[in-house]
Symmetry: C2
DNA sequence: AATAGTATAGTTCTTAGTGTTATAAATCAA
DNA sequence: TTGATTTATAACACTAAGAACTATACTATT
């Protein structure tokens, strides 16, 4: 659980820094350095997690694929562990997991 | 402007359908079919647009890269038109454009 | 029984993305 | 002015994600 705690702490810290920046205390440059060094590391999604996220959204692989703008085959491969989602795809998966599928609908 | 209007109309329609689904009128299966057929087509981001989105967020290519979980070189190539962002990356770019960089922070 | 939706699976091919290194401009501090 | 840091471009070889296509099979609907 240490890892998760650390991540949450960093998230909270980041929010505070952003607040300080917003009211003009922390300059943009410092903010940039801060961002660069504290952003959470890549937490890759395991195949079962991807299935879980999709099922919780209640959509088929085909629909899921259209939301992510990838092919149907790609979703199938993610879920079977044949291929691993790219960086941006992992980011999207995390967003859907936290905020739901509708939040990524352009 | 026809294209954008159409897209907005579909978005609104989708929202309505989702509402009907939420209150139990439209079954999940119908919802799935609806999703599959009405999701907006891919609107790719031009290099200048990507620069604009990043500048509006007020971050360097390096920081932008970490948010997207891609390498710095990839951002540079997107912005110079040497490489085109993948499907999931385009989705993310659209989210950042509409809702800001913070909204994709995991 | 037939149709349509769903998911797995394999194949070939393209290209996005990585990692590295070099270069050069602008910015800032000593 | 000098030196250090940040910023962005650029070229290289390499890896692997993803596309497109096809086939199979299970399930549910009509």
């Amino acid at each position: 659980m240490t890892k998760k705690y650390k991540s949450e702490a960093l998230a909270a810290l980041h929010e505070s820094m952003q607040g300080l920046h917003d009211i003009g205390i922390v300059p943009a440059k410092t903010m940039r350095r801060f961002d660069s060094s504290c952003l959470a590391p890549i937490e890759d999604m395991k195949p079962e997690e991807i299935v879980e996220v999709r099922n919780k959204a209640g959509v088929s692989q085909a629909v899921f694929a259209r939301y992510f703008r990838v092919s149907l085959g790609t979703i199938s491969k993610w879920e079977r562990g044949e291929k691993h989602p790219s960086g941006p795809a992992i980011t999207l998966l995390n967003i859907v997991k936290r905020k739901g599928l509708e939040s990524i609908y352009a």
